[in-house]
Symmetry: C2
Subunit: 478 residues, 2 copies
């Protein structure tokens, strides 16, 4: 990058972060030249670039001003899914999404893979090296069915931050959060049973239920406060629902954190109808607020909450180290774990345990929280800039996925076909419903470094969205 480009980037960031507000006067050319120790012409070139990007406007004899930008798009309205139990399908589309992340030439905004480039992860590789060097026989033999004890102790310690007072014996290590969820569901429900979920809901949860022949009922969900409790209560009155699965913190795909009193109310409702709650907390540690929100599990005195989590979003998904705190379903969960994979790979468990024990976990999480929050600012700015004005976007309070909703007429399937030619992959909203909703939605991941290439990608997606909408309107007019 040349000097003027660097300066332009810096100014863009300041504008995007609101340091210079819409309509505000920017510093004079002379002032900037002095501030940054660059020539007058460098500043002029930078301003010219920003002018071309329609970020600023020059006013004769007054200087440069921040262009009155688009306003923040609204938050989508509460979802309105189909209010009856349905069977899950759509495996083909999910498999396509899963495979898309493997093509090195495709930019995948569809998968939620964390940023693995940070130096704070390095001690984890060192632990693998140490296991190999010391030829630890313990890494090669069967371990405890519930997971390596040293890891379960460290997990129990971490969980104190979310308000949980658990012993290592109450935790079962799993092969990723997927196995935690699958084991939790199998501990509770049988084929044909009904489980309630948020709507939209993480497609992996839908597929797990599909694989176990369990029906889902999607409950209307608010984009800032989570699952609608009145709607859930109506559903509980009407159907023999076995459990509810919720992602209350940094929800995937909506990003909300469920307010404390609503979590309490959900627990009360579960008690009243005597159902279990499966709490997926896999993004919980990535809440931008500090301290992180308290889990439903931490408020549960009856053991009816089965907490599922993993290190896949906080450390690295390839480790496949997750866990389940199954409450009063412990015996049954252990049985299901035995019949699912026996035990989980040992060396990754040992590496993670030592990584945490040596104090590397918290600094890494602090850094990642900050990075994802800054990424979100840049990312939503670009979405605002390059997408049509008619969109709504979620307001993530943690994690690294954004939900974008186009007008109802929008066809997400068509969009992803268009984008495939450009080697861009996004997660179409239809994946997040079992009842055929959200074709007009998109989930975009913003975990990767926010490079100009990503900005270009957003611009391409935005243009494709615009085109799809225009085409639709044209067709409607005909």
């Amino acid at each position: 990058m040349t000097r003027y480009q660097l300066l332009a980037t810096l100014l863009t960031q300041r504008i995007e972060q609101g340091l210079y507000q819409s309509g505000e006067r920017l510093p004079s050319v002379r002032a900037l030249s002095q501030e940054h120790g660059v020539s007058i012409s460098t500043v002029q070139q930078a301003y010219y670039l920003l002018e071309q990007q329609q970020l600023i406007v020059p006013l004769p004899r007054s200087g440069y001003f921040v262009r009155s930008g688009k306003t923040q798009p609204p938050i989508p309205a509460m979802s309105k899914p189909v209010q009856r139990p349905v069977e899950v399908k759509k495996w083909g589309a999910v498999l396509e999404l899963v495979n898309a992340r493997l093509d090195p030439e495709t930019i995948s905004l569809g998968s939620s893979v964390p940023d693995l480039t940070q130096s704070t992860l390095k001690p984890l590789w060192k632990q693998l090296q140490r296991i190999g060097q010391k030829q630890l026989v313990s890494a090669f033999t069967y371990d405890n069915l519930a997971g390596v004890p040293v890891l379960r102790e460290q997990i129990a310690r971490l969980m104190v931050d979310s308000g949980c007072q658990l012993s290592a014996d109450e935790i079962v290590v799993t092969t990723g959060c997927t196995e935690a969820l699958a084991v939790a569901v199998r501990a509770l429900a049988h084929p044909g049973d009904i489980i309630a979920v948020e709507s939209p809901v993480f497609h992996g949860i839908l597929q797990i239920l599909c694989g176990l022949d369990i029906k889902v009922i999607e409950i209307p969900t608010d984009f800032t406060s989570g699952i609608n409790l009145e709607a859930l209560e109506l559903a509980l009155d009407q159907w023999p629902i076995k459990a509810v699965i919720t992602v209350p913190h940094c929800n995937n795909p909506l990003g909300f954190i469920m307010p404390l009193q609503r979590k309490r109310a959900l627990l009360t409702l579960a008690q009243r109808y005597d159902i279990a709650i499966i709490e997926d907390d896999v993004y919980g540690e990535l809440a931008y607020e500090y301290p992180r929100p308290a889990t439903l599990k931490s408020m549960d005195t009856e053991g009816r909450v089965l907490l599922c989590s993993s290190f896949s979003k906080t450390l690295a998904p390839g480790l496949r180290v997750g866990w389940l705190a199954p409450g009063r379903y412990l015996d049954r969960a252990l049985h299901m774990k035995y019949t699912s994979t026996g035990s989980s790979a040992v060396c990754t468990q040992l590496a993670v345990a030592e990584f945490i024990r040596q104090g590397h976990y918290q600094p890494h999480i602090r850094r990642m929280r900050g990075i994802y929050q800054r990424n979100l600012e840049r990312f939503t700015c670009w979405v605002r800039r390059y997408f049509p004005d008619t969109i709504c976007v979620s307001r993530p309070q943690g994690g690294f996925v954004l939900w974008v909703e186009m007008p109802e007429s929008f066809d997400g399937v068509q969009l992803s076909q268009t984008l495939r030619k450009d080697k861009i992959h996004v997660a179409g909203g239809a994946l997040f419903s079992a009842s055929g909703k959200y074709r007009h939605g998109l989930r975009l991941s913003f975990a990767m470094p926010m490079t100009p290439h990503i900005e270009q990608t957003i611009a391409t997606i935005g243009a494709a969205v615009e085109q799809t909408l225009v085409k639709r309107e044209g067709e409607a007019a005909v």
Copy 2:
């Protein structure tokens, strides 16, 4: 060990290996003294020890003779399980077995954990070290749902030895053979369906079926040739059986290798009744014969065989690297894999792939085959020596488990309680049946180095068996 003990051990081995046959004259004291360069009194002490152990008898003026030992115990008769579908239970007893292997003070002959002490495994640790050293990002990210491509290529190459011509795309890597089996069953069957199994059958298979609410029908099984095909055909006529699960090579728990023509006949039967075959080949590479036997999969032209295997018995169970070659059920198997664990841990997959690619696999397997075969000789010798004459034992043709059957009146549950006080754990035969059979059976593992401590353990078990039988007879007499 002193000199005379060493010599005694050597002579014992020669007798056990049949170098000195029953009734044969042993070398003179003088000849042995010269052969081994030890004193006359050392040889005399060694012979005295063997005399005490009732292995040899002195005949005045003629020297020492090998005592006409017990003859080899007979092979158990064909099993006679209950001939109707039943539900699986017994999780409590299996959990106890699984936990017993964790107590460092308990000698577990009940678990089938391979010998992890051999130097030929060292390159595998080196691979883990390399991954850590090179900070391979690929080890930390999500990989292909079907498993790391380089590993699948190496597995496809290995499978050529068992007669299979598969491409990497036809293989799905799993978290151990347990997940391979569970995914295979879920790809084929639904709750309430019936699956046929050998009898006795590996308790893990029973528990997997239990976890999926699938009923089993146990088929009579011959101790040298495997599942009885006439009995299987009768069952197929009578019940809507979805699939048969078989462990045709180095069967767990019986040790047989199914003869080629019987494997062909099983496949023909499966075709005729249009059922699938789940072939568990996890011990197949440990057949004592060379080349290793051909899999059912290799003879299958219709994709109806789902081959399940892993590196848990050949390399190390803690890796949790298994695989499934699901034939025509590939799509459904991938779906079930996704809903079970997503993908499997990456670093162990990469380590195994490189271990094979560098040529370390075959030498290791050759060594382990030899070790287990020699272990078996020592082990059965000890069982013959220390167990009552009334037992029957299996004739393993590979792997490292032995099946021992006591008279029908024998109570294996009582035995394991007695042995628990001695910190010895064995797998009671009752675990290997869903219909309450084989209380008089035991499965013993002989993977560990055959030390005097193991001999002592066999002696303790043998004495406990004797005592239980005597007590029973006493009770019966009263």
